[in-house]
């Protein structure tokens, strides 16, 4: 059974809190906007009112990127993958 947190969209403050937990830093407005625009271009970003999450496609693709990778290394693996796979129109 999928966990509730996987299904639920996040408010902006929750996104910031999560980003802080990952990198011990607060993303600024340009960083969030730029990242979200890129994620949307990939078809990964789901927006509903003021909440954000992944589309099923985004969830599927990111899961496949980090599959088999230990939790602590999955962020680095995702970063490498994103570097090598720019969003459509930026290749």
């Amino acid at each position: 059974m999928p966990s509730i947190a996987m299904e639920r969209l996040q408010t902006l403050e929750e996104v910031i809190a999560s980003a802080d937990a990952i990198n011990h830093a607060i993303p600024n407005a340009d960083e969030i906007a730029w990242a979200f625009l890129r994620l949307r271009r990939r078809g990964w970003l789901l927006i509903k009112d003021d909440s954000y999450g992944f589309t099923p496609k985004g969830r599927r693709e990111i899961d496949s990127v980090v599959r088999g990778v230990t939790y602590h290394h999955s962020f680095e693996v995702l970063e490498r993958w994103i570097l090598n796979h720019p969003p459509p129109g930026e290749e």
Partner: protein, 186 residues
């Protein structure tokens, strides 16, 4: 630091909460009626999760996620704040809105007690008071993000790391990641 509590004390807190009368409906105002309906749901969901936590000494991950999800209902809070601003307490709508807000904060106190209880039995629950501080950080970012997503604002290019960072933040929400670092990378 939050004071920890055992099962007995948490159970007592819940008993005390259950003795607080649920505020009545009324006022003949649509927004107030909607807020009342939301408060009923919030109350019922909270009671369900707290009962379940008390019944199960080791609550499931799903139950903990439910508890986290319930920590605040900012939509309800905002609607009540608007009503309180619009109506004085001498008005029935203003009076009831204040009662609803009071009850809403009693629910949140109960949820904080649940967090404390879980911490006392070594279940890791993110401290929602910290999350609340992120609201202040999010407020100035929100309009920038909205206008950027609407294509009304140019956004400066960032390092690829930033996309991975925010993407991972969306991906791993609720999993309480801790990568052990003490400063920003990227």
């Amino acid at each position: 630091m939050e004071k920890k509590m055992g099962t007995g004390r948490f159970s007592k807190v819940f008993d005390e909460f259950k003795r607080i009368p649920f505020p009545p409906s009324g006022g003949g105002n649509k927004d107030l009626e909607d807020a009342h309906a939301s408060l009923i749901l919030y109350d019922a969901d909270t009671a369900g999760v707290v009962t379940s936590i008390l019944d199960n000494p080791r609550p499931s991950e799903e139950r903990i996620h439910q508890l986290i999800d319930l920590q605040a209902d900012y939509g309800l809070e905002e609607r009540l704040e608007k009503l309180i601003k619009a109506f004085p307490d001498s008005n029935i709508v203003g009076k009831l809105a204040r009662e609803y807000m009071g009850y809403y904060y009693e629910i949140r106190k109960l949820l904080q007690a649940a967090n404390s209880y879980l911490l006392s039995i070594s279940v890791n629950v993110p401290d929602w008071r910290v999350i609340e501080n992120y609201r202040d950080m999010a407020d100035p970012i929100r309009p920038v993000l909205k206008s950027a997503l609407a294509g009304e604002r140019e956004v400066l290019p960032q390092k690829p790391f930033v996309e991975a960072w925010l993407g991972y933040a969306l991906h791993c929400y609720g999993k309480t990641p801790d990568f052990g670092g003490s400063h920003r990378v990227g």
